[in-house]
Symmetry: C2
Amino acid sequence: AEEFRGLSPAEFFYRNREIAGFSNPVRALYQTVRELVENSLDATELYRILPDIHVRISYVSREKNIVKVSVRDNGIGIPLKEVPNVFGKVFYGSKYKLRQSRGVFGLGIKMAVLYAQMTTGSPVLVRTASPKSKNVHEFQILIDITRNEPIVVSYKTMNNTRGWHGTHVELTLEGNWSSARSRIVEYIKRTALIAPYASISFEGPGIELSFPRATKKIPVPPSVGKPHPRGVDIELLKQLIAYVNSSNQAVTLEDFLVKVFDGVGRKTARSFLKWAGYGPAISIDELSIEQLDDLARKMKGYGKWRRPRPLSLSPLGEELLVKGVRKILKPEFVTAITRKPSSYGGYPFVVEVAIAWGGDIPSVDRPLLLRFANKIPLLYDEGVDVSRKVIDGIDWSVYKIKFPAPLAIITHLCSTKIPFKGVGKEAIADVPEVERELEIALRETARRLKRHISRIERQYEVKLR
Amino acid sequence: AEEFRGLSPAEFFYRNREIAGFSNPVRALYQTVRELVENSLDATELYRILPDIHVRISYVSREKNIVKVSVRDNGIGIPLKEVPNVFGKVFYGSKYKLRQSRGVFGLGIKMAVLYAQMTTGSPVLVRTASPKSKNVHEFQILIDITRNEPIVVSYKTMNNTRGWHGTHVELTLEGNWSSARSRIVEYIKRTALIAPYASISFEGPGIELSFPRATKKIPVPPSVGKPHPRGVDIELLKQLIAYVNSSNQAVTLEDFLVKVFDGVGRKTARSFLKWAGYGPAISIDELSIEQLDDLARKMKGYGKWRRPRPLSLSPLGEELLVKGVRKILKPEFVTAITRKPSSYGGYPFVVEVAIAWGGDIPSVDRPLLLRFANKIPLLYDEGVDVSRKVIDGIDWSVYKIKFPAPLAIITHLCSTKIPFKGVGKEAIADVPEVERELEIALRETARRLKRHISRIERQYEVKLR
Ligand SMILES: Nc1ncnc2c1ncn2[C@@H]1O[C@H](COP(=O)(O)OP(=O)(O)OP(=O)(O)O)[C@@H](O)[C@H]1O
Ligand SMILES: Nc1ncnc2c1ncn2[C@@H]1O[C@H](COP(=O)(O)OP(=O)(O)OP(=O)(O)O)[C@@H](O)[C@H]1O
Ligand SMILES: [Mg+2]
Ligand SMILES: [Mg+2]
């Protein structure tokens, strides 16, 4: 007979950690650096703080492949009472909002803590201080895997004598530095490309890299958006109704639509309800499940909603993208495009593309592809990424590009919901709307490159005569 | 300031359902069929019952794309008190053991229930009876997403007048049948290929397929295995020690190794402990975290453990694999190999490969690849699957194969832990030991095909004279 049991989320991800990118000491070291750096960049950028990120990897024991990873930022810090859950509870975080951020799942740092704990037994060491705080809080935390709860091994408070604010995380884990090194370095470089306003210093055994910021211009942070009617389903409606009801007396259907959804004013709400066959004054808690089902279907199908508003997005913009590409790839020619906002399933998104040519770019048999999503560099699983699919579907000879050629393509997708293929955030799924935007952006920048190549050709012909 | 919250596992997978394969009504319908069929095959095969599986898809509303999916099996049924959690609690199941099965995560059916619930509001309908049971239990269940708990909408017991045993699951969901149809049909066909002892009937709008079993021979079910010393880490040691301690008085280190681990007898335990520098009589609850760390490292590094035993595996075998391929692909020539068991990270695995040529196989520019893992057909994400990688790395002209050619390759990986790349179970990661075994198996079967092609060539030359 079968034996039944349930797993806590920590237990599930402990047993299936390869699904989150922690499959072996090479990938795990890479993923650990990623998770910490991505958290640090969110903690600064989302509050318009120019990021200063310090990454240190050092050997604790070379023969046992034990390394210490330390990442320090000047971000907004973590509130004292939130620290234990942030580091010790899987599915806990502050990124469960409709707002562009690197963090999404409330899982990242917990995976790193878990991996360190299972390979060396060491707790994570955290120091954190919020801006203007008199104190720096220092914790050592382990995860109680069976219960998915933090274990606070130690806690102390120190005077914030230097008026510091930010977070400093240290993990000791089994990690294969020599094999992971090149990918980690590439990740840091590409992070500097996509966040040229960030100052990043990286130190590892035998290597020191410094990326001072290329600009002090930092994009306006995204603000938290509202759900869009095109993205509803019955469960979301139920949750939104429960949320609205918890803070108010009887709410009408019209009020509900205006209050809760993105870009729905009185006029739009009323014309929708008229079209859908619902009285505007119906109280939302009187709705039956059949009515919710009907309403969800009609909200998805209604053609006259305003398009999702892009206030919840924070693309890099053409100027900064060109700056970042110039600095890191040192091409002879680069052009960038930031498309107007679009949306899929109610989620707003923006596609940005840059094409770089010549200079320090090596000659390649097919375009070198640097992929980014919400300013995160994606280095694995290119084979199933939508960018690769679109690029391979383009006939580049139409743009005067014959391979081998010194061609690099940079794709950047920004959204309140990146259609990642897995919790390891390595590849983007081929959502049709995103695919279409990528193709338009790629062909536009390719046309500009073609004009540049034609110009070079004409200059060359002039020279020959 | 940031707002912090935690999510239940159901909430997490509701928000990120595309990661489990439920990205849109086309994929969701496909995935729903998969999850139900895979559960039914586990419920029969693991108890050496010849599977009789009935799959029905019918329209509830063609214009709204609402379909009903029904899957019925003759398996061991689900115990009465387990039914609510089985259908209503994410991370709950009976497959958390070291034994080859299709189910692994305790998530599959819950995703289907969630998707049906959010697109139509309907609860899942379940009827189940265990062998020789006087009763058939019927439930209607929804998931309380916020709490990750089942909601039993209705329950009744009926007399088991026809002496039936098995499980019958019905879901009503938004599903794009016309777009999903070809993949679902392909999935059913390939399931019949890899489980030729299963009798499968499939009925959908405008289609009826029947796959009577090709044989009554069913492989010996796998038995639950023990963990292997090479697969330990500190957390696993802690869990195993806690488990052993809960049922015994003071357990010595030697007893612990012999009792808990795969293939460790007294003699092996003692030589390991001598090599590692531990007295065999140390009590396991006296071990400090430093000692556990040291022990885990030494257990992983010790070179003299017996290889993992394959009792927990249940490969198809060459005879049944050939039978299945002949029936479904109707080739002119087919050869199969079931490799001896191997292991990675302490998990035993077996690679099986078949190569099929000519007959009904279409002429293709590169080998047609049919991938399987623990008898599950994998139809997506071929681009990042280890089988594709190994096949593309082989120069087929060496085996007298010039493309286009009527060549199909069937790869099957069996393991107590398939290195899936995601919870949607679509691609296998490129674990070096698995990659190596696949290459050996592919080259061996390719050599046999080469001999066949040479034979055909010689016969042809004889004819010409
Ligand atoms: N360096 C940091 N500074 C400030 N807050 C942080 C920092 N690191 C983590 N946090 C907080 O802890 C939360 C949890 O982090 P974690 O990496 O586990 O999840 P996430 O970033 O929200 O999502 P993801 O799993 O996608 O990374 C974050 O949402 C953030 O609020
Ligand atoms: N048709 C069935 N007959 C008997 N038991 C079943 C059936 N369907 C589900 N179960 C039981 O319910 C459990 C949960 O099923 P579920 O599909 O959610 O997870 P799983 O099969 O264990 O793993 P996975 O998420 O990988 O599919 C199974 O482990 C099994 O014990
Ligand atoms: Mg994070
Ligand atoms: Mg299952």
